[in-house]
């Protein structure tokens, strides 16, 4: 792997982060509604002077451009700001809320990525058979069903038929692994289903493509077993688009987790962001979106590197 490739990727990464920081920063301020007024709620005792003082204490009386640069400069100093409502450092709020989301995303990626390979291979091998058609229809359904609907319906269904099985909310893994995993089953199912559907379709077509190549015919001709043909020869070549797609899926999972965390009452980044929007909690929102974007960009950055490792042509061409 050459350094130019690495450098280019890092350059792209910083451009994306700067762009996102500007968009998030300005968008939250364009929404009508005043952070200070929302924080005070129905409290009408506070005077205009009191509100102005609060506003200046929170740094909201400065010009937007000034606020932006203060925020960015502080980030480079390691200070992501202070949550307007709780008064706690934003970074610690993100830290607390990140674990459930990381766990949810990681489990969904593992389940989604590992199940989609055998399913996709099966679909490719048994193309046109009755069971393959059933799986294909199910995959399309899995792709099109919105996850919040699936989440709510699965809660209702499981509650109806296995009432003892339902567990809602979140328990940290190290507090009680069994309670933690029990609470992860339904959300992970809901989150990974569209991913399984998407990836297995991708594996299927990549496999079909690979299976029709000459080297497969050669492999078959030299007497390699069906298993070896499929998993050793075809799959390896079908893997490159698959890995890229897994990386992109992480972004969708982070987005999907906003809804799923809401449905399953999981205290993750999605709920942190949603809460920050309705509170107009500018520092919290800006920094958590930035961190989430950075995470997504980094995952794809590593996927790109992996891609280059699997297929050395990539870095040379770039």
């Amino acid at each position: 792997m050459n350094f130019k490739y690495l450098f280019n990727r890092i350059f792209d990464l910083s451009i994306v982060l700067i762009g996102v920081s500007i968009i998030v920063f300005s968008m939250i301020r364009v929404i009508p509604g005043d952070a200070v007024a929302i924080m005070l709620g129905a409290n009408t005792e506070i005077t205009q002077e009191g509100m102005n003082e609060l506003r200046s204490r929170l740094g909201l009386d400065k010009s937007i451009l000034e606020q932006y640069f203060i925020w960015i400069i502080n980030i480079f100093k390691g200070d992501f700001g202070t949550s307007i409502w709780t008064g706690r450092p934003v970074i610690s709020e993100i830290y607390i809320n990140a674990w459930p989301t990381i766990e949810l995303t990681a489990l969904s990626v593992i389940i989604g990525a590992s199940l989609s390979i055998p399913i996709g291979c099966f679909m490719a091998i048994s193309r046109g058979s009755f069971s393959e058609i059933i799986i294909r229809v199910a995959a399309i359904a899995g792709l099109t069903i919105p996850s919040f609907w699936l989440g709510i319906v699965s809660i209702f269904l499981v509650a109806k038929f296995y009432p003892g099985f339902i567990a809602l909310g979140y328990v940290p893994f190290f507090e009680s692994p069994s309670e933690n995993l029990k609470r992860m089953i339904l959300p992970v199912f809901t989150l990974s289903l569209p991913m399984i559907a998407n990836l297995s379709r991708l594996v299927r077509s990549a496999m079909l493509d690979a299976l029709s190549q000459h080297y497969i015919r050669t492999a078959k001709a030299k007497g390699a077993s069906q298993f070896s043909v499929v998993f050793k020869h075809a799959l390896r070549n079908a893997l490159i688009p698959y890995i890229t797609s897994v990386g992109v899926s992480v972004g969708y999972l982070l987005g999907g987790s906003i809804v799923i965390e809401q449905v399953f009452a999981i205290p993750g980044l999605g709920r942190l962001v949603l809460g920050a929007i309705s509170e107009r909690n500018y520092p919290l929102l800006q920094s958590s979106i930035l961190v989430m974007t950075a995470a997504f960009v980094l995952v794809n950055f590593f996927v790109d590197l992996l891609y280059a490792v699997i297929d050395p042509r990539v870095s040379k061409d770039d």
């Binding site: 929404i31 009508p32 509604g33 005043d34 007024a37 929302i38 924080m39 709620g41 129905a42 409290n43 009408t44 005792e45 506070i46 005077t47 009191g50 409502w85 709780t86 008064g87 709020e93 607390i96 809320n97 709510i152 809660i155 209702f156 509650a159 009432p163 003892g164 339902i166 567990a167 809602l168 909310g169 979140y170 009680s176 692994p177 069994s178 309670e179 995993l181 029990k182 809401q262 449905v263 399953f264 009452a265 205290p267 993750g268 709920r271 942190l272 809460g275 309705s278 509170e279 107009r280």
Partner: protein
């Protein structure tokens, strides 16, 4: 390979079957995290139900039937002129931090609420308190600058905090320190707040529970399923539609009480033609309150005037209000006489809550029958609050909590310049009555004053009071001893068992 996987699966399934602790914990599910826990700063329902009566107590206490009972003060005497209140405090009260509560803490707490820099929304409740004298560690005298009949019920809402927090506006928002039966343990943002039994509570044997967990569960369907299967024990303040569904569930019991809170149509009296009292009266004539209750609230509510029918001593029956009989012809006549051009174009700002949205659609259709052309503005909560506060609306549909004493509601809402008089309503007669009602300590005299106030406000005031809802709380049947309070507070948790 296959075997390892199966045995791993077996272990997982085994773990899932293991029951957790046997300590008695109640899990209360509410829709969102509170903004803070300082009892002198909070206004939102989801803060109040956690804090009041569970973590904090006041000198007095409002009972489930809204009567005023002793709280941290075991008794009190009132001087004959109604200006001096002497409170005798319980002697065995300890704060959660281990320090003893005495009269100095009471004094500091009231001063804290009065402090301008605190900007406490409760300030008006103790504004008539002129001086506070600590006679000894267990006796305190409040002197009022004028008689203030509502002081005893107002004091129930003034939580007593340790005196060292008198000038601290921040610490208690995150870590509350009170005298109540439950002690704050931890707060997981977006997840839950945990309260534990306070071992040194002033009444021996209470509370009966070991802990209370308040979970924040944004999705209504999730709360509902969680209650049915025992994950959650109590859902406070369920909406009428959900209450109906849960009623059918054999594991769930619905507790209901007539609520102090109400839905309302507010009018900006600085805007044409709402500045005209006859137009406001015409609007009341056009409203069909029973239709609103059936159509938007699933029948869960009753029509009412400016005071909740739950306040039996004070509230006038709606028969007394001529404008409560739906009469389109009469309304049109009033508008015609005021020579106002129709259709009258007005916008209703709608609180982003299901009941308010449903109600405003019914109202839109009812008012349009009488020569109005109403548009609905559905805004997000932040915008709603801002417009409400800046009086930037023609009309709005919203919901309010209620107060046990008429003065607490009327004075700030309808007095010229009152702190929540966002309608900019100003009427000399009403101002005079409200001042008199505040000063008088004779219940019968106050009753006749507030009768006049209600009579006038019902038809011509800046608020059309629509319906007083039923407060429903859904409780899992495993919970014993739950009692519902009309104030909406979870005050019975102290004696609940599971």
């Amino acid at each position: 390979m296959k075997k390892t996987f199966l045995s791993y699966l077996a272990i997982v399934i085994f773990c899932l079957g293991v029951n957790n602790s046997s300590a008695s914990t109640i899990n209360v599910a509410i829709d969102s995290s509170p903004a803070g826990l300082d009892p002198h700063l909070i206004t939102a329902f989801n803060s109040v139900i956690i804090v009041q009566n569970n973590i904090y107590e006041g000198l007095t206490n409002i009972d489930s039937d809204l009567s005023v009972n002793p709280g941290l003060a075991k008794s009190w005497e009132v001087s004959s002129d109604g200006l001096k209140y002497t409170f005798n405090l319980h002697t065995n009260v300890t704060f959660h931090d281990g320090s003893k509560m005495d009269a100095e803490d009471v004094k500091a707490s009231i001063l804290r609420v009065q402090n301008k820099d605190m900007a406490s929304p409760l300030a008006s409740r103790v504004s008539p308190v002129k001086s506070i004298d600590v006679l000894n560690s267990n006796t305190i005298v409040l002197e009022l600058n004028e008689p203030f009949a509502a002081i005893l019920s107002s004091l129930a809402g003034i939580a007593i905090v340790p005196s060292e927090f008198q000038n601290d506006t921040e610490a208690l928002q995150k870590i509350p320190v009170g005298t109540g039966p439950f002690k704050f343990d931890s707060w997981q943002p977006n997840s839950h707040i945990q309260l534990n039994k306070f071992g040194q509570y002033r009444t021996e044997g209470l509370p009966k529970l070991d802990s209370v967990k308040v979970s924040f569960v944004p999705e209504a369907a999730t709360r509902q399923v969680g209650l049915s299967n025992g994950e959650y024990d109590i859902l406070p303040g369920v909406d009428p539609a959900t209450a109906l569904q849960l009623q059918a569930n054999p594991n769930v019991e619905i507790y209901q009480t007539r609520n102090l809170s109400y839905t309302l149509l507010g009018m900006n009296t600085t805007r044409e033609p709402l500045n005209n009292a006859n137009v406001r009266k015409a609007i009341n004539l056009l409203l069909n309150r029973n239709e609103i209750i059936q159509g938007a609230l699933f029948g869960a509510g009753v029509p009412g005037g400016p005071l909740s029918p739950a306040l039996a001593t004070w509230a006038l029956d709606t028969n007394n209000f001529s404008c409560y009989t739906n009469d389109v012809a009469e309304a049109k006549k009033l508008i015609n006489e005021a020579s106002i051009k129709t259709p009258i174009e007005l916008e209703i700002l709608v609180l982003p809550r299901q009941d308010a949205k449903d109600i405003s659609q019914v109202i839109q259709q009812q008012l349009n029958q009488g020569g109005f052309n109403i548009t609905l503005a559905n805004k997000e909560i932040g915008e709603f609050v801002q417009d409400w506060k800046n009086s930037d609306f023609d009309m709005f549909v919203s919901a309010n909590g209620g107060n046990p004493d008429p003065d607490q509601y009327f004075y700030r809402t309808f007095r010229t310049g009152g702190s929540t008089n966002v309608f900019k309503y100003s009427d000399n007669e009403v101002d005079t009555w409200l001042d008199q009602g505040r000063k008088s300590t004779s219940t019968s005299e106050r009753k006749s004053i507030y009768d006049k106030v209600q009579q006038k406000l019902a038809c011509e005031g800046p608020i059309s009071h629509l319906a007083y809802g039923d407060l429903s709380t859904a409780v899992n049947k495993k919970v014993k001893g739950f009692e519902i309070y009309a104030t909406g507070r979870l005050a019975s948790l102290i004696s609940v068992t599971k």
